[in-house]
């Protein structure tokens, strides 16, 4: 009986799956076009899955092994099942292989089941709770129906009733694993996930045979000249189709939510929920079926959306609700912790900025200080609204060479808007002292420099960003230099990763951008700096998001600290898992209230190491962390620590360890 039934079941399931797939694909295709090489993408899929995705999944060995067994077992079992039971090719080794595959899958599913027994809060529940059972149903039933096929059991083994039960279990398994895959069940992640990898909007993230992928963290420019293109994303259908596909790939593992600083602070954002809301919007309906952690303070079931309906209710003041509330989008610090953790390679930050672009450019609804900051940027080229002519006031007594005078220099020192901030001016002065000590030939743009556009862009004001960027690019193009050095990771990121798209192919062909920690490390390695031994207390290091996760620079700051004689007491969350200070993405400007403050949590991380000092490398981090009341640690920029420790460079010989530093930077260097 089963021999007759199985092919029917298998092909019926496959048939339904194809119909589901077409329906699903049509959902994705509601999105705007995106130029993605389809065949090339599909060809790259195995490598992207087996190498790049696995690299992320592997951070949790247990889950990685579980997934290899379960998914690997399933893919093999499914193919073999079609051959063995669908087409009746049971002879020889195929049946045995099918047995092995289903057994492997079963073992994997046991571990899936174990994980679901006391699931961590970050995992979504709902249909996901039945998945281990479905996996077991599929693997066990496939195993059972294959036993007769290889001759272990007689073909007519058992009662017809048993066959019927078995058939029912097979139906269950096929239903979840094949039908459910394209009709929106938990297994959707395999289907959408695979295609998402193939058609990913940032193909450059993935490795190729030629080498590693890059971090690809720069935001993509809006084409402001294309009148047909929407200014940002208003409705789900305004995303490109492969972005929608990416949302659909979400496996709801919640790795993103467990690292999200905004969620931890009780602000109304959960990256996983946001992605699920986009899925809801793409298909149309309410978020009532979401079975994971909600946005803090926002019960599920009250929001709904449709592919062509607005994501954010047009008039938020009347309390109208759509798919998500604006404050959810403005809670993001763009720290990329979610993106870094996502095993499905989903691009949460791109999506958030896309939606912010609509709110800012079309609706003018940048909240709190947002509008003022953008107005300032438009009027004065800096977010604080300071007199642009005062950018160099902090250096009135330093006689810094101006690019306008010297035309070329080894290093262009990019000041950033910290030049207007009294705290950051100390860092800048320390950096100047270091450059002098190493006899670096450098110059500054002075009042020709403008804000990099980072904040404007993250607040969704692409027009202001591009205006600033283009003028900076024009200025930079006038001069010759080998590298730009900056103590501001945001400028570093924008100059290095985002101007290229606007500056034309040769714009940055002749120079590189360096964060000051990288440059100081290079100077030290080249023997151009010498330090007195460290006499301070214990030190930890806070990785700025835009230096670390955005640009992969984790080592240079640590190498500099090591050169100073400091042994860094690492925080539990450091390196690529560093916790944001709360200062990125314009978050301090939009200032969405939560239950606690992100920088407080970060200073608590510092406290847990028992360190007396936290070294940083970002004006924004410095400002945020120094703003913490009753902090237990002092906040110093790496440049300040280096400037304090500088001693005269030895002529050829090793540094005399007894040499004393010039003293604390309490006075003249800060001025």
């Amino acid at each position: 009986m089963l021999e007759t039934l199985l092919p029917i079941l298998i092909f019926a399931a496959l048939g339904l799956a194809v119909i589901g797939a077409i329906r699903r694909i049509r959902l994705w295709r509601q999105g705007r076009p995106a130029a993605v090489p389809l065949l090339k993408g599909l060809a790259a899929l195995p490598r992207r899955y087996l190498v790049d995705l696995h690299h992320v999944v592997e951070r949790d060995k247990m889950i990685s092994n579980t997934h290899v067994a379960t998914a690997g077992g399933f893919v093999a079992a499914a193919v073999l099942m079609i051959l063995v039971h669908g087409l009746g090719l049971a002879q020889g080794v195929l049946g045995w292989l099918l047995l092995a595959a289903s057994a492997t899958m079963f073992v994997g599913s046991l571990f899936v089941a174990r994980r679901r027994r006391n699931p961590p809060a970050r995992l979504s529940k709902g249909p996901w709770m039945r998945l281990p059972k479905s996996l077991m149903a599929f693997s066990l039933s496939v195993f059972a129906i294959t036993l007769p096929a290889v001759g272990i059991l007689p073909a007519d083994f058992g009662h017809w009733l048993l066959a019927l039960v078995l058939a029912a279990v097979v139906v269950w398994g096929l239903g979840e694993m094949v039908f459910g895959m394209t009709w929106g069940g938990p297994m959707k992640h395999a289907f959408a996930g695979a295609l998402h990898l193939a058609f990913h909007r940032r193909a450059e993230r993935f490795s190729t045979k030629g080498g590693q992928g890059n971090r690809s963290t720069g935001l993509k420019a809006l084409n402001l000249d294309d009148e047909a293109a929407p200014l940002g994303v208003e409705t789900p259908a305004d995303f490109t189709w492969n972005q929608l596909l990416g949302f659909d790939a979400c496996v709801q593992c919640g790795r993103c939510e467990s690292v999200c600083p905004a969620l931890a602070a009780g602000q109304p954002l959960n990256p996983k929920k946001l992605i699920q809301d986009m899925v809801v919007g793409m298909a149309g309906g309410s978020n009532a079926n979401y079975a994971g952690t909600p946005y803090p303070g926002k019960p599920t079931g009250e929001h709904h959306g449709s592919p062509h309906g607005p994501i954010v209710a047009p008039d938020a003041t009347t309390g109208g609700k759509a798919l998500v509330d604006a404050e959810t989008l403005w809670s993001c610090t763009t720290c990329r912790a979610c993106v870094e953790e996502c095993p499905m390679m989903i691009e949460h930050v791109d999506a958030i900025v896309d939606m912010r672009r609509h709110l800012t450019l079309e609706r003018g609804q940048t909240p709190n200080k947002g509008a003022e900051v953008l107005d300032n940027l438009i009027a004065t080229d800096n977010p604080g609204g300071f007199d642009p002519g005062s950018r160099l006031h902090w250096a009135a007594d330093l006689n810094l060479p101006l690019m306008a005078d010297v035309k070329q220099a080894e290093v262009l020192l990019w000041l950033g808007d910290g030049a207007f901030d009294m705290r950051n001016q100390r860092t800048l002065r320390a950096l100047v002292k270091i450059l002098h000590a190493a006899e670096v030939e450098f110059a500054v743009l002075g009042t020709e420099e403008r804000d990099s556009g980072d904040v404007a862009r993250r607040l969704g004001d692409e027009a202001t960003f591009q205006s600033l960027a283009k003028r900076n690019i024009a200025t930079l193009s006038k001069y010759r230099f080998q590298r730009i050095v900056t103590c501001d990771p945001h400028s570093f990121h924008v100059l290095g990763n985002e101007y290229g798209e606007l500056g034309g192919p040769d714009f940055n062909a002749n120079w590189e951008v360096r964060h000051h920690s990288t440059f100081i490390a290079e100077l030290y390695d080249a023997g151009r700096l010498a330090f007195a031994p460290w006499k301070g207390g214990s030190v930890t290091y806070h990785d700025p998001c835009y230096l670390g996760r955005y640009n992969g620079e984790f080592d240079a700051p640590r190498n500099v600290l090591k050169a100073l004689g400091i042994e860094v007491k690492e925080m539990e969350r450091s390196g690529f898992r560093s916790r944001c200070c709360g200062g990125g993405g314009g978050a301090p400007i939009t200032d969405i209230p939560g239950e606690r403050r992100i920088p407080d949590m970060r200073m608590n991380d510092v406290k847990e190491t028992g360190s007396e000092l936290v070294a940083v490398g970002c004006p924004q981090c410095t400002a945020m962390l120094e703003g913490v009341v009753d902090a237990t640690a002092e906040v110093r920029d790496i440049a300040e620590l280096v400037a304090d420790a500088l001693v005269a460079r030895p002529a050829g010989e090793a540094v005399d360890a007894s040499r004393r530093s010039a003293g604390k930077t309490t006075v003249e260097e800060v001025l």
């Binding site: 300071f386 009135a396 007594d397 330093l398 009294m422 705290r423 006075v667 800060v670």
Partner: protein, 691 residues
């Protein structure tokens, strides 16, 4: 940006100043070796530049000619090329830290003394005596005028060759230039007087000669007053006319403006406004001058606070603010603004200890900052953490000495406990602050309160420490700063007893602290003649009492400095307080409901009586030594200080004795011998900085 107006650079002539804060010209009384800017002088200015001051104009009343004596106030002598290498040291020290430095140059004319050193005949336009210095002078002759004009030019050359950034011509404080300006002093009928142009001529010729000597790329400014405040002197409108006249030459790069002339005791008090004045009392005069001139205007007078400076600059009243006493109190004021440490700024309280010393020919020191002017001795403005062992330091007494000791010890990284018997810190400062117009002296305490809180010093207020309590804490070091009590028991005839019901006399502390209610008809007997007697008189009169203040000294308040006794006198005369000198308090006895004070004339021995209802006696402080003698024998050093180390500001040798048992005992301030606030703080700093 907060304080953006302060941190806006400005061009003065061809010079860029990094911010808007100036340490204006004042007599430092530090130029040694015949008026040379030697080590102490250089270090004093280097500290300001290190601390971020934009521009220092040094050398108030630095002389250009040998008939304007410098030795009385150890001012800088620009009459010789010998000064040039000293200027180079000074300029290098300031420039190294990004600061700029100019010097005030002047000929003081009649405003000096002739009775010493070279015994000069002082010169003045019309030979009219100057009252403040009791100086007589000759009428200057044409040849002398031209010689002095030449001296100005040579002095400017020396400043330039020494690498300084500019000179400020003093036409203020009734120096020779403004002696020519003022019709009050200049009665000449020749080309150097009479008409407006005539009175302006000397200053103009000086300016022309100086500019011709130094060229265009060297700053030349002029300091003037905004109104002499004399009915027969130069009014504000006169000064605007003068400023516009000199500005029109195009040869000046800046003006410094202050309010008030100063050739009487009363006007002199305006020039360096003490704590009785409101903030920036004469800003309007500087703003008036700014209206009529085309170059930057500097104004200094009672600008002590960064918010105040920001407000003045933001309002555009003047272009630069002088914060001179603010820098004497805390040369790192700018650094602290920049580092967001506003609360750590030691703010000038206007006690005028600095300037009142200067008028006695003594070196300028700060009442509350013992490191100022002692940078050359290695006394630090920033106390570094000790690299030695962490110690348990117990300080007894929360007056200025005790507070400084606790602060310095805590900065060194030690575990510090401070006992104060009263409910609040401050000691005698708290009492002094009760008098009318003297409340700002409490700023000294306020700063220490903030600092001790920041440094987590364990404060035991309202707790009188005894031997057992102290030793329970197992201290490594005990610092006693327990002060003392009014010394009313010196003469039994005064009828003082500890029982306030029976005592015939009370102390100024009793009155000022409110412990004793003010009488209605009060005799104050002041044997000390410092602040407390006149403060008590002012306080009682303010409460409605009829007050007579009697002293055996030359006058009540005789030991109060030259910029402060006038403000007391203004208040006392207005309240009809009677001031009587030359009488000693012989005896007090009770008669009926009242008291009879018997006074004895110092010179004739004649007795006279006053019938009053309250006798207040100020007879100084008797040290409180009880705790010291209770602890002395148990301490390792027997309470002794190594004086050679102390005077050289070196570490006390007993601090470095290894492994020794027992605690070290130091005492300072009035519990050793009655001195003043500065003495207590200085001892605390020099003893505790090496803990």
């Amino acid at each position: 940006m907060a304080f953006d107006a302060i941190f806006q650079p400005i061009e003065i002539g061809k010079l860029t100043i990094r911010n808007r804060v100036v340490s204006t010209a004042h007599a430092e009384v530090h130029a040694t070796d015949g008026g040379m800017t030697t080590d102490r002088y250089v270090k004093y200015y280097e500290e300001k530049a290190k601390g971020g001051c934009g521009l220092c104009i040094c050398g108030g009343s630095s002389v250009v000619s040998i008939d304007s004596p410098q030795a009385w106030w150890s001012s800088v002598n620009l009459s010789t090329d010998r000064i040039i290498p000293h200027f180079q040291n000074l300029a290098d020290a300031v420039h190294k830290h990004g600061g700029k430095i100019m010097i005030q140059i002047t000929h003081m004319g009649r405003r000096s003394r002739w009775d010493g050193f070279d015994w000069p005949a002082l010169v003045s336009p019309s030979g009219i005596r100057e009252p403040v210095h009791r100086s007589t002078c000759k009428t200057i002759e044409e040849e002398e005028i031209w010689r002095i004009i030449g001296d100005f030019a040579q002095a400017a050359r020396r400043a330039k060759e020494g690498g300084l950034d500019g000179v400020e011509l003093s036409a203020v404080h009734q120096h020779l230039i403004d002696q020519f300006w003022s019709p009050r002093v200049n009665k000449r009928e020749d080309q150097w007087g009479g008409s407006f142009e005539g009175r302006m001529k000397f200053g103009l010729e000086v300016l022309k000669a100086v500019r011709a000597e130094v060229g265009d790329d060297f700053c030349v400014g002029m300091r003037i007053c905004g109104d002499e405040f004399h009915p027969d002197g130069l009014s504000h409108e006169d000064m605007k006319q003068i400023a516009a006249y000199y500005d029109a030459t195009g040869q000046l790069d800046f003006f410094g403006v202050i309010g008030s002339g100063c050739d009487t005791h009363n006007t002199l008090a305006n020039v360096i406004p003490n704590m009785s004045y409101p903030p920036e009392p004469f800003l309007h005069l500087a703003a008036g001058i700014k209206e009529v001139v085309s170059v930057p205007v500097i104004h200094a007078q009672n600008i002590k606070d960064p918010n105040q400076a920001q407000r003045i600059l933001e309002g555009g009243y003047v272009d630069l603010v002088g914060m001179t006493r603010a820098h004497i109190a805390d040369p790192h004021i700018i650094a602290k603004i920049k580092m967001g440490q506003i609360d750590q700024i030691k703010q000038c309280v206007g006690a005028n200890y600095c300037i009142d010393r200067q008028y006695q020919g003594l070196d300028v020191l700060c009442i509350q900052n013992a490191a100022t002017s002692r940078e050359y001795m290695g006394l630090p403005h920033i106390i570094e953490k000790s690299e030695g062992p962490k110690r348990k330091v117990v300080v007894v007494g929360g007056g200025p000495g005790g507070m400084e000791a606790a602060k310095v010890a805590a900065e060194r990284g030690h575990d510090v406990t401070l006992f104060e018997a009263a409910e609040a810190l401050g000691g005698q400062i708290t009492i002094a602050a009760q008098a009318p117009q003297r409340d700002q002296i409490a700023g000294i305490t306020r700063w220490y309160q903030l600092e001790l809180a920041r440094l987590n010093v364990d404060l035991r207020l309202g707790t009188r420490a005894d031997e057992a309590t102290l030793l329970d804490l197992r201290p490594d070091i005990v610092v006693l700063a327990t002060g003392g009590q009014p010394f009313l028991s010196q003469y039994p005839e005064w009828g003082y007893t500890e029982n306030p019901e029976e005592s015939l006399v009370v102390s100024t502390w009793d009155v000022l602290s409110g412990k004793v209610a003010p009488g209605k008809n009060v005799l104050i007997y002041d044997a000390i003649c410092e602040f407390s007697g006149v403060s008590a008189a002012d306080y009682l009169a303010d409460k409605g009492a009829k007050v007579e203040i009697v002293t055996d000294d030359i006058k009540p308040g005789a030991a109060v400095g030259g910029t402060t006794f006038p403000t007391y006198y203004r208040s006392l005369y207005e309240k009809e307080v009677i001031m009587t000198s030359d009488l000693m308090l012989h005896k007090v006895y009770r008669e009926g409901d009242g008291l009879v004070a018997v006074l004895e004339n110092e010179y004739t021995g004649a007795l006279e009586e006053r019938v009053v209802d309250q006798v207040v006696v100020e007879n100084g402080v008797r040290p409180d030594e009880s705790l010291y003698y209770a602890l002395k024998e148990q301490s390792r050093n027997k309470g002794q200080l190594d004086l050679e180390a102390l005077y050289a500001a070196q570490a006390q040798p007993c601090l470095s004795e290894e492994g020794a048992e027992g605690f070290l005992l130091f005492r300072l301030g009035d519990c050793t011998a009655p001195r003043n606030t500065h003495a207590a703080i200085y001892d605390a700093l020099r003893i505790c900085k090496d803990f």
